[in-house]
């Protein structure tokens, strides 16, 4: 649905040049919720703004729904943008317009006649749960309500793609959750493809099924959350399950990170391993997290004993990801 190919972008100012993006490529499939994470300054905002050409890439090409955004003339770009919704950290609602009028804005731009516009606005207010705030001005709304208006506005012209530029970063945790739930809900109900950028791992954990990690303008990792989290060496896995510090480790033992995904998390595999093999197991740490639809657990374990190797092989055969650290 969104294809980004070898995109680079620099900002040149009088004193210095900032390379915001280096040869970034990624592909967002239809119906995915794709999260791009990174620290501030990593280039994620630039990346998402390239997708609807608020920022023009220096190099590379971008397609949205089969249309090459980077090749469009000004007129076609405006048409294409009407089908790409976008929501913002600061909501960016028109202060002189009510919720309804804000939501009607993109419909006016698209030249939809007034009666249809009114009907659609009503539908959208219902969709985001703001039926009773139709005539309120943004100044009278809470942050979460403002973002709901922003989402309704972004969806007005039935876009297939929604771009979310740090949409929850200005909200408190409870409101963040409710907005993320709304996004996940829209993704299910409408088959909406969502590309979101965030600096909060929590956001990725709650709604994303795919993730890309940007560092200093480089894409260091991308793929499905399930795959990345199952790989104890991935940045994502390390972010959720920080490795144990070296000085705590027994130099004579074998250290391993064992990752449980889905079903494997529910079976007593470790217990049966300990019965079967002559091995001493020492747990260093571990936790289980709900990441999107998946339950993922990771244990940091020390093994000692003559049958350590066999025991590890057994775990792998049972479908666990085992990463031996030493």
């Amino acid at each position: 649905m969104i294809k980004i190919e070898n995109v680079s972008k620099s900002f040149i100012d009088k004193k210095s040049a900032v390379h915001a993006l280096h040869d970034v490529s990624l592909e967002v499939g239809k119906g995915q919720i794709y999260g791009v994470v990174g620290k501030s300054g990593a280039g994620k905002s630039t990346l998402i703004r390239c997708v609807n050409r608020l920022e023009v890439p220096d190099q590379g090409r971008i397609w949205v729904d089969g249309e090459e955004i980077t090749a469009l003339d000004a007129d076609s770009l405006r048409k294409a943008r009407q089908k790409i919704g976008m929501i913002f950290q600061q909501f960016n609602l028109l202060g002189q317009r009510t919720s309804s009028e804000n939501i009607a804005y993109p419909l006016e731009i698209a030249g939809i006649p007034k009666p249809e516009r009114d009907a659609r606005v009503k539908e959208l207010l219902n969709l985001v749960g703001l039926e009773n705030k139709a005539d309120a001005y943004p100044a009278q709304l809470s942050g979460g309500q403002k973002q709901r208006v922003g989402i309704a506005r972004a969806l007005a012209n039935h876009p297939k793609v929604l771009l979310s530029d740090e949409a929850t970063s200005a909200l408190d945790p409870a409101t963040t959750d409710s907005i993320l739930e709304l996004l996940a809900d829209l993704n299910r109900k409408l088959g909406l493809t969502i590309l979101l950028i965030t600096h909060q791992m929590e956001v990725v954990k709650k709604v994303c099924d795919h993730v890309a990690i940007l560092e200093n303008g480089y894409l260091v990792e991308s793929g499905s959350i399930l795959e990345l989290i199952g790989d104890p060496l991935s940045h994502l896995s390390k972010a959720f399950f920080p490795p144990i510090q070296e000085e705590l480790l027994d130099p004579l033992a074998t250290q391993a990170a064992i990752t449980f995904l889905g079903k494997a998390a529910d079976e007593p595999i470790l217990a049966s391993m300990m019965r079967k093999f002559e091995v001493e197991v020492n747990f260093l740490g571990g936790n289980i997290q709900q990441i999107g639809k998946y339950r993922v657990g990771q244990l940091q374990v020390e093994f000692k004993g003559p049958e350590t190797k066999e025991a590890l092989t057994y775990l792998e055969d049972k479908g666990l990801r085992v990463e031996v650290r030493k």
Binding site: A80, R81, I84, N92, L94, Y105, I109, P138, L163
Partner: protein
């Protein structure tokens, strides 16, 4: 001299001032708003940067603003005569008043439009708005309260200018004050005229403030 005899005259000249200032303001808004929008759009950080056009417009605006009004009044006499057939009287005064106020108002418009947050303009762009739609549906409506205050400010400046125009036969309260109050030493007339001008200015400011506050939804 009895002030009662002056009242009809004062009334008439007040109306003349309101007429001159009102019509000039109308023309100023009609001409100055687009000029201010053009200055904003063509700025290097604007929606459609046109550095050369921006510098030319800016130069003309600065030039017009640096001329003292009394000089502008005189310089414009041939032009005014061509445009309205005469260079004397209230209607003729509208020409220099408008020309003096347009660049002023254009700058007011420019600084007001610049206060519209960048994010709003980007949101409008992200929804596929054309430049015209962004101006007419975002920039201008969002800065309407500020623009109203700007119009009040312009009106007040024009009241001052119109009093000056009175000195060269423009008519209105300023004319009255100078001819009778100053040249004939009728101090009461001068006094009453000043009061009337004060009331006019205060009234315009109050009305502008009220209207802007009513319109602002922020």
């Amino acid at each position: 001299m009895n002030l009662g005899e002056w009242l009809p005259r004062l009334w008439e000249e007040s109306l003349t001032t309101i007429y001159m200032v009102g019509i000039s303001t109308l023309f100023t808004v009609i001409l100055g708003l687009p000029l201010g929008v053009l200055l904003t759009l063509s700025d290097e950080n604007g929606l459609t940067p046109r550095p050369v056009l921006n510098r030319i417009l800016s130069f003309i605006v600065n030039l017009a603003r640096s001329l003292p009004f009394i000089i502008l009044l005189v310089v414009l006499i041939p032009f005014t005569r061509k445009l309205v057939g005469t260079s004397i009287g209230p209607t003729a005064t509208i020409v220099p008043l408008t020309i003096a106020a347009v660049p002023f108002f254009a700058r007011v418009v420019e600084s007001t439009l610049r206060e519209v947050p960048r994010g709003l303009i980007e949101a409008a762009q992200s929804m596929g708005s054309s430049v015209w739609q962004t101006v007419s549906k975002v920039l201008v409506p969002e800065s309407l309260p500020g623009l109203i205050l700007g119009i009040a400010l312009t009106l007040i400046s024009l009241v001052g200018y119109s009093a000056m125009a009175g000195a060269v036969g423009g008519g209105g309260l300023g004319d009255l004050a100078i001819r009778y109050g100053y040249q004939r030493y009728e101090t009461e007339v001068m006094f009453v005229t000043v009061i009337l001008l004060l009331v006019l200015v205060q009234g315009v400011q109050l009305l502008g403030d009220r209207l802007a506050a009513k319109i602002s939804k922020k």
